[in-house]
Structure formats: C-alpha cells, structure tokens
Symmetry: C2
C-alpha cells in the first residue's frame, strides 16, 4: 500500500511517501502559495519514486495550508498528525513538544498516538521559531547557526517575554558589551521557558519528544530539558512528524 | 503652595510645576538614564520658573523610573497619578484610557479621582505606542504623521494581534498593492481594538478620557470611540496626566 502525507506549514511544506514500511521525505519552502507548495511537494516526491498519482492509495493533508489542497483525500488537523508522527518516530512518546516557524504546541498522547489533551500558541511570536528569527536578525546571525554560536555559554537574563521588547533588550545588552554567546543562550532559554510553561500547564510526560524546525536547535532542547527537569528527545527528522503522521493516518484510512 | 510632579516614562519624562492654580509643564526624552532624565526635568522646570528646590513644598515621582529619583518626597504608582491627573484635566472622567510608548492601561475612577479598578498591559507590545512605532518603521513614516496619513481611509483588516505577525501582514499587504492609507487605518484600529477589549473587561465608563502619547493620534481615538460605542475625549496635554496627578497628590500630601 502506498500513501502520502502532506504538511503545509507557514514556512515549509513537507511530504512523506509511505510504501509499506519504507518512507521517503521532501521539504520545500511554502513561499506565498500554500496550494502551489502542496502541489509541488506531491509531484516531486512521486517523481523521485517514479510513481504517478494513480499509484497512491490515499493522500492526507495537514498543516495550516491543508484546506487549499484540492488533490487530497482527507484533511486532518496538525495536532492529530503530529501526535501520530511523533509516536512513530520515538517509541513510547506520551508528550510531544512541537516548535515550528510560527507556532508551538504541546500534545499529550496515549499508547496508540491518540490525542488526550493539547495546548497551542499561534497568536504570539514569543516561544516560536519566529522569536529566534527576529533575534538572529538583530545579531546578524543565521538562525541555523544560533545553537553553535551559543554552545556552552551561561545564559544572560532576558526579562521580556515579548519578542518586540526582548529585541530592544538584546540591542541594549549588545551595547553593554554582553557577549553574543551569552545573549544567544538567553534567547534559547526564553523560547524554552515559554514553551515549558505551556507544557507544565498540561501535565507531566514520561517520554517527551521534541519535533518541529526548532528541535534542530540543541540549545533550545537543553533548556527545555532543564526547565522541565526531564529528558527531551529530539525526533529523527523532527520537521517531518506532521507529514509522517498524515501518511500513517492515510494508511489507516485505506485499510477500512 | 508649590509642588512638582515628575513622571519618568519609558520613552519620555515629564514634569509639572503647580503653583497655586497655575501649572507649567516640561517633557524630555528619557534616554538611557531615568535618574538623569528625572533630575533634568526637575532642574529645568525650576529654572524656567526662576525657583530653587527650596521653594518647592513637595515633589512626587511616578512612572516606571520613579524609584531612581533620590530627590523626591514620595513615589506614587502611575495608576494613582494618572487617575488623579485625568480627572483634573477632564471634569467628570470615570474611565481613563492611557496608551503610552510601551504600555497601556484602563482605570475606573470615582468622583474624587480614586482608583476603583484597573487593567494594565506592559508585557505585550500590541495595543501600545510600540506597535505604532514598529508599523511606522515598516511604512517608512514618522509615527507622529500616521494619523494625517490615514485620514478618512477605510481600514484594511489586520488579522494578527501580535506586533511581529502584524508586521509581516503589513509587508504583504503593501506587496499586494493595498494603499498605505488603508493599512495605517487598519493599524489604528488594531491598537484601539486591543485596548478597547481590555476596557470592556473592566466595565463601561460614562465619561472616557484618553491620555498618554498615543492620545495625540486622532485615528486611534476614533476607533476607540467606535469600538466602545461611546465618546472618547482626548485630555488636553494628554502626555502630562501622570505628572499633573503627581503634582496634585503632592499638594494633598503637604496639606496634611
Ligand atoms: S507579547 Fe510580543 S510577541 Fe507576543 S503577541 Fe504580544 S507583541 Fe507579539
């Protein structure tokens, strides 16, 4: 059986092709048209596998752009898809922490990957990848280099949670001569702190899996673990959790 | 009797000298030292009135920088000072809406200008002067020109409340060719909407007085009135409400 999951996020669009037990993945920037991005990843992933749409048994779409995909069989919410994907990626997961480019979510799941409870922030840039991007711009750094730049530094206290006010704080910390390493470490702690308090309100996980683009940042992971007082496992291919979950749910759907 | 009120805000520092029933005012940028700014406005306002510190019966400090003023007789919270100042500026005021450079507050007061209830936002840049500043920068405009630039235009919908996400929305509205007038009008409505909802949670005023630096923006005032379905009166010298209240409270204090 061949299924495809497509996750159209605000910044990147992901596709996963599931063929029996093997899977392939593809990631493209969403750009300004979620519909075109969704179409592109679908075509390209089929192309790479030398398949045509007719070979695919079921396509599930997820992510904020899922409603603009005319070719999918079903649209399923990100929460449901992420939960399923994270459990597949890390056995035994009961709490998923996902930090994406513009949102963050915490999901408690049962042994089947079903959602028990969740919390989500997509209203405020603090505690999302966007916070890191704004800060990287102020520091003249690339967001993907932040973790390396900070490595090992004692975090400086950034007292404003708000991205805009924190940006001014960072400017004045730089002017005061505080090292970039310590500032970046403080930035990582800020993101982790915001998301950890959202997680804390939901409860306590025994096995916490970290997904989303920000999960590639080891600094944020470390502070999440410190704040929660627990181990936090980064999912392999953390950005793919939603698309993998979508592909798995597509497979379940076809079986019935 | 001569009293002085000093309001050290995040962006500007204000002094009011009250001599019997006449008053003089002065406003300076706070810069990076609230302490120096407070000292400067105090010295300069005395200088202009040809007075020395010994001529002053009582000095009250307010605003976020009030604690760093060694020469004051008493520090009183912004909420208390604003309430008193607004009632003095506009007779009959029972609700004060203050929008400053980095915060916003709504205060319900009784006939003596005493605080019955209040709400404040100093955590989130949305619904404060900072939101307007960020947007003015994106539009390449001066924040003091926004109201003139928007005049009469139908507001475009800005769906994100968050300053950071709204900034991206404005960039893409500009790219779509939406007029600056409509965008600025939408920005004014966003600020007003955020503060109006804070006011709505407190109750309903019969006489609403608008103070703070943002009260000079007629566009925000208009949308506040629309959102609240009531008249909103801009206080004369709206930025001085806190310092005037401080000077009046200093007078009360000396009487006892
Ligand atoms: S706190 Fe800052 S980042 Fe969060 S919604 Fe408000 S403006 Fe946006």
């Amino acid at each position: 059986m061949i299924t495809v999951g497509i996750d159209v996020g605000s910044i990147t669009t992901k596709a996963v092709l599931l063929n029996g037990t093997t899977w392939q993945s593809l990631l493209l920037p969403t750009g300004c048209s979620p519909r075109d991005a969704g179409k592109s990843v679908f075509e390209q992933i089929l192309d790479r596998a030398s398949l045509s749409p007719a070979d695919v048994d079921c396509v599930v779409g997820t992510g904020y752009g899922r409603i603009s995909l005319p070719f999918i069989d079903k649209a399923i919410t990100e929460i449901t898809c992420h939960a399923r994907g994270a459990l597949h990626l890390v056995n035994g997961t009961d709490m998923v922490i996902d930090i994406g480019g513009q949102d963050s979510k915490v999901i408690m799941i049962d042994e089947q990957g079903r959602v028990i409870n969740f919390a989500m922030n997509d209203k405020c840039a603090a505690g999302t990848g966007r916070f890191l991007q704004v800060m990287a711009a102020v520091l003249g750094a690339d967001v993907s280099d932040l973790a390396d730049l900070a490595r090992g530094a004692e975090p400086v206290q950034i007292s404003s949670m708000c991205t805009v006010f924190a940006e001014s704080e960072v400017v004045s910390l730089l002017a005061q001569g505080v090292s970039k390493e310590r500032i970046i470490s403080g930035i990582h702690r800020s993101v982790a702190g915001r998301v950890a308090s959202m997680a804390g309100r939901l409860g306590r996980g025994r096995r916490i899996t970290f997904t989303g683009g920000v999960a590639r940042n080891g600094g944020v992971r470390e502070f999440l673990a410190r704040e929660l007082g627990q181990e936090v496992t980064v999912a392999p291919e953390p950005q793919m959790a939603g698309a993998i979950g979508a592909a798995l749910l597509a497979r379940d759907r076809c079986k019935h």
